[in-house]
Amino acid sequence: MPFKRFVEIGRVALINYGKDYGRLVVIVDVIDQTRALVDAPDMVRSQINFKRLSLTDIKVDIKRVPKKKDLVKAMEDADVKNKWEKSSWGRKLIVKKRRASLNDFDRFKLMLAKIKRAAVVRQELAKLKKTA
């Protein structure tokens, strides 16, 4: 019930609104009650409103406003990329991205696969109903 993910230096967050939608960033400093300074290995350090961030469970061990090199090293040590891609939230986002990038042929193949799977499930269900 109490809060478990806090805004702190080193908290990894996901941007959920704006130009950098979907990007994983690290909170590097807190500017005031509404804004934070965020940084990621592939972007320019910039300020962002807390409302545009969704906090994750991952934390990185850094000092306030580290140099880019130190940030990258700390992110490697904390293994952010792997942790994120293994977490259920990260996996769901990857699946969403894949689904959005399907072309028409892929969607056709997907439809066939779904039909096949549904047929197998229905067969099993009919067998269970018969014995019940």
Binding site: M1, P2, F3, Q33
Partner: protein, 193 residues
């Protein structure tokens, strides 16, 4: 300005069990159980055990204004009152004050209501029903005293207020006509030395 976090904790004594769920606090102890609902407050209630293993109740206010930060301590006080109500109980004593006409009070309805006659010589009989869980007795040994007992401080004190308000003097100078039934003592049933 908004304080990012203001929080306070209080110790929970042994002998009481507290349940907190969705801002409804239920306290159970030797004298019974009491429930209080804090849904009108914007606070987080938490039961934690601190480093020494003692149980505590922690109340947080995130980004609170002055008023919500002030509400933290009052909520703790309300919980403290629940705890003492359930361990010691509350006993409020009221005295009859009259100059000429003796106030005649009789306890009816198995200690659940009081009837007041001859207040200022009036023919009107005033009947006051006690609230739930509150019992009223005529005090032996002390003349003109009435004792109200109960677990919930809100109900006991409100019953006292109801009795007091029924005996207000009308159309007279109240500085001269000081008759009435007044709360003389607020205490607990079990007194520890």
């Amino acid at each position: 300005m908004k304080n990012i976090l203001s929080s306070e904790t209080m110790n929970i004594p042994d002998g009481v069990s507290i349940k907190v769920h969705a801002k409804v606090i239920e306290v159970e102890g030797p004298r019974g159980s009491l429930v209080r609902d804090f849904k009108h407050l914007n606070l987080d209630f938490d039961l934690i055990t601190d480093d020494n293993g003692k149980r505590k109740l922690k109340i947080d206010a995130w980004f609170g204004s002055r008023k919500t930060s002030a509400a933290i301590r009052t909520a703790l006080s309300h919980v403290e009152n629940l705890i003492t109500g359930v361990t010691k109980g509350y006993r409020y004593k009221m005295r009859f004050v009259y100059a000429h006409f003796p106030i005649n009070a009789s306890i009816t309805n198995n200690n659940k209501s009081i009837e007041i006659r001859n207040f200022l010589g009036e023919k009107k009989v005033r009947k006051v029903d006690m609230l739930e869980g509150v019992s009223v007795l005529r005090s032996e040994k002390v003349k003109d005293e009435v004792v109200l007992d109960g677990n919930d401080i809100e109900l006991v004190s409100r019953s006292c207020a109801l009795i007091n308000q029924k005996c207000h003097v009308k159309n007279k100078d109240i500085r001269k006509f000081l008759d009435g039934i007044y709360v003389s003592e607020k205490g607990t049933i079990l007194v520890d030395e």
